[in-house]
């Protein structure tokens, strides 16, 4: 069991009070909540809640057991709003009901999925008829009711799930008064792939390839967090060299994402030149990724126990490319900041207050732009981040402009981290050979993706195969915040606000 994870077993009725006490002390961030089916070994379900301490590198993980014949527990949502989606997800996946939850509609599954079917239970099966009907989506088995806003002049605009551009599916229902957005309800999970269930059907070693396909633009962060979780569980120490390679590639991933995202915001304001300029720099970086690792999205590098290729052999290429990108990037930012009409659109648009961001457990760029100084690289140092000198960038402005500027500052921070990494040399083998995974063990893995923190929690069964893999992507945390950011904005500004968060549908529809 890793040193910084403190598991605390509690009685079902004490769990809620304990969590609320931790939350109210203000010294902890609620990170994720999940369940595991332990009916074979312990004859119960187990629900975990992960808090991370703000000042120290410690995770507090209270958990409690729940019997199958009484699958009801007191909801935490009224006191800790950040867990509202987690509790609904656990309801959909395990059939454990949070009593007192203000919104018990289904979250993950859509209308044609059978009502009493809980896929993450170990004994889950689905009949051929149910499967076909689910695939066709014609028969509504449990109708989803959208929230309704009533009153004079309220107009409802349904958008999606099929959009005019080539993007992933998501449905947005706006209730507007004139052009002003009064209420927005997103309906996601159209591309739910059952990834957590998939993990259970393959070995921990094969799981790496699945992890890096959860969300295309965060492939490396996901596989790094997954490998880290398995390595911590199996007590494997990766070499300094492997840690350096992972740190380097995490920053390269951040670099191409942030520059691409800044460019993408220009599409929201119609600045086509900024949009293409950002896309060109991003493409340069992706081609560089391909030169460096053989994969544009840095896939196939992480394995359990280390990495497969030593990018430091191409240190000169890295140095030259990063220098060239830095020059281009500075020109790009100068152009953007000089386009007053663009900046004017960003300022005071899509404000997400610090209070709401904290309560919803927002992570990553969106949190830092709302003044929350939270970065997993700093809060829970891993790989080589402890030795590196950097500070998370925050902004108190809370608007789209702040989200752009936080990204811009992080680009510079990533460039300096990459340059600092290149100054030293690192020892050790690329990977240590790992044959077996200990049975009945569990651990957390985490890292900071370009969008925010990603967590993997893995648990092995009695044979050393995956019993439960919980994955929490940053998009899952941040989607509920988007409606708050666009409240009171006008409808044509929604795409801009949405792009400033740049959340992944695929990453949320796990």
């Amino acid at each position: 069991m890793p040193e910084n994870e403190r598991y605390i077993e509690l009685e079902a009725n004490r769990f809620r009070d304990h969590c609320i006490a931790l939350y109210n002390s203000g010294r902890y961030y609620p990170r994720l909540m999940f369940a595991a089916d332990l009916r074979q070994s312990n004859d119960c379900f187990r629900i975990y809640m992960v808090f991370s301490e703000k000042e120290k590198d410690i995770f507090h993980i209270p958990f409690f057991d729940l019997k199958e014949n009484a699958p009801v527990y007191k909801s935490l949502t009224p006191d800790i709003p950040a867990v509202h989606w987690y509790e609904r997800e656990i309801r959909d996946m395990f059939g454990l009901i949070p009593e007192g939850h203000p919104d018990l509609r289904r979250l993950v599954f859509h209308d044609s999925f059978p009502s009493d079917s809980y896929p993450l239970r170990k004994d889950w099966t689905i009949s051929r008829t149910d499967l076909n009907e689910w695939g066709e989506g014609l028969i509504k088995k449990e109708a989803y009711k959208f929230m309704e806003v009533e009153g004079e002049g309220v107009h409802e605009i349904p958008v999606g799930p099929v959009h005019a551009g080539i993007i992933e599916p998501g449905h947005f229902r706006f209730s507007t008064v004139g052009e002003t957005i009064f209420f927005l309800e997103p309906r996601l999970f159209y591309t739910h792939k059952g990834i957590e269930k998939h993990f259970e059907g393959m070995s921990f070693f094969d799981g790496v390839r699945l992890a890096e396909r959860v969300s295309g633009t965060s492939s490396f962060s996901h596989s790094a967090a997954y490998c880290m979780a398995v390595e911590r569980m199996a007590d494997i120490e990766i070499s300094e060299k492997a840690a350096a390679v992972r740190t380097m590639l995490l920053e390269l991933e951040r670099l191409y994402n942030h520059i691409g995202d800044i460019g993408n915001m220009c599409a929201g304001t119609g600045v086509a030149i900024g949009n293409t300029y950002g896309a060109v720099i991003k493409e340069d970086l992706l081609q560089f990724n391909k030169r460096l690792t053989g994969s544009r999205y840095l896939r196939g590098i992480n394995i359990i126990g280390g990495v497969t290729s030593d990018v430091f052999l191409k240190a000169d290429d890295i140095l030259n490319t990063i220098d060239a990108v830095t020059v281009e990037y500075k020109k790009f930012m100068k152009m953007l900041l000089g386009t007053i009409s663009h900046i004017e659109r960003l300022e005071n648009t899509g404000k997400l207050s610090k209070d709401i961001a904290l309560r919803l457990g927002v992570t990553g760029v969106a949190a830092r732009a709302s003044g929350i100084n939270d970065d997993i690289r700093k809060a829970h140092p891993h790989f080589l981040y402890d030795d590196l000198d950097f500070e998370p960038h925050t902004s108190g402005k809370c608007d789209v402009y702040a989200r752009m500027m936080v990204r811009a500052e992080e680009v510079e921070c990533s460039i300096s981290i990459i340059n600092a990494l290149l100054e030293n040399s690192y020892n050790g083998d690329l990977s240590s050979s790992v044959k077996t995974i200990p049975a009945g063990s569990s651990a957390l893995g985490y890292t900071e993706t370009p969008r925010g923190s990603v967590f993997y929690w893995v648990m092995s069964d009695s044979k050393g195969m995956p019993h439960r893999v919980k994955l929490r992507s940053p998009s899952f945390c941040n989607w509920p915040a988007v409606p708050f950011a666009v409240h009171g904005e006008i409808v044509p500004d929604f795409p801009l606000c949405n792009k400033s968060f740049n959340l992944s549908y695929s990453g949320s529809d796990m």
Binding site: H155, I157, A164, G268, I273, T339, S341, R345, I490, P495
Partner: protein, 305 residues
């Protein structure tokens, strides 16, 4: 020949749109589609089948024809390469503005007709913009009309030589803002966007497909070229001839094309250098245009030039 000059507008309008698209792509560092891409788009659309929502009424089917024919009627009144315009007895500049309004009215109705959210949004936004643009367009033209003593466009265009008085320059600025708004270009609308929620013109035609869409798009290209033509007729008439000799016509046609390409270049620069405005800030731009037009009229009345 003078009877047929409106055909130039029908035939060349997709080319002008292609030129703007090409120039914009070049400014973004992309090769962009060929100059004739707009023709290919229209041909492709004409060959396609149509999908028509069964919630629509006759308006949906009638709007493309009304829009297309009304734009052609407007094109007949406008002198393109010669001011000898036999159709000009049919109407003057005020008639043109209201012929445009007729097309716009039916397009907005058609946007509402299918009952979709985006069509309604587009129509509501289009009418908001139209209310602000029309007075500006009128006032800026009145300045030129008063100095020419007529609202007949052939008369306006016959005034030979440049007329760069302060009142005309003010009127021209207002007219340019009106053209940008009328043709749905940045900073008012974004013709290239795929973001349904931000659309104005595209929102209204979102339900259209196949031949109807082709007619709508073609009418939009023609309207754009007509507005450009009006701008050169009123503010840069130099080069337009008042007879129908073939050699002179050819010369005038060359000059006309040159003027069109210059305006296309100018539009491409504006579109590439600015962000789209926030929708609720549009009134300040359009009211600014109105003030310019009003000032131009005032200047003319007070200074007499």
């Amino acid at each position: 020949m003078e009877y047929l000059q409106f055909i130039l507008i029908i035939i060349l309008s997709p080319l002008i749109n292609g030129v703007i698209r090409k120039l914009k792509a070049q400014m973004q560092g992309r090769p962009g589609p060929g100059l004739f891409q707009s023709y290919f788009d229209l041909i492709r659309l004409f060959k396609k089948d149509m999908r028509i929502s069964n919630t629509t009424s006759w308006i949906f089917g009638a709007a493309p024809y009304i829009l297309f024919t009304s734009t052609i009627v407007a094109a007949m009144i406008v002198p393109v390469i010669t001011t000898v315009s036999p159709f000009s007895v049919m109407g003057d500049i005020i008639a043109i503005i209201y012929i445009f309004a007729l097309g716009r009215f039916f397009m907005a109705l058609a946007g509402l007709d299918a009952g979709t959210a985006f069509g309604g949004e587009g129509s509501s936004r289009e009418m908001t913009v139209a209310i602000l643009v029309e007075p500006m367009l009128m006032l800026s033209i009145f300045t030129a009309a008063i100095s020419a003593g007529s609202t007949n466009i052939a008369m306006l265009a016959s005034i030979s030589g440049p007329i760069y008085t302060p009142s005309h320059i003010l009127a021209l600025s207002a007219f340019i803002i009106a053209i940008i708004a009328e043709t749905g270009r940045i900073p008012v609308d974004n013709p290239d966007t795929h973001l349904e929620l931000t659309m104005i013109h595209e929102g209204m035609v979102l339900e259209y497909s196949g031949k109807y869409l082709a007619l709508m798009e073609w009418a939009h290209y023609m309207k754009q070229m007509l507005l450009f033509t009006l701008a050169v007729d009123i503010f840069f008439p130099a080069g337009i001839i008042n007879n129908t000799e073939p050699a002179a016509l050819a010369m005038s046609f060359g000059i006309y094309l040159l003027k069109m390409f210059s305006i296309a270049f100018f539009m491409a620069i504006i579109e590439s250098s600015r962000a789209k405005m926030r929708f609720f800030q549009l009134p300040s731009l359009l009211e600014g245009g109105f003030v310019l037009a009003f000032l131009s009229l005032l200047t003319y009345i007070m200074t007499g030039r």
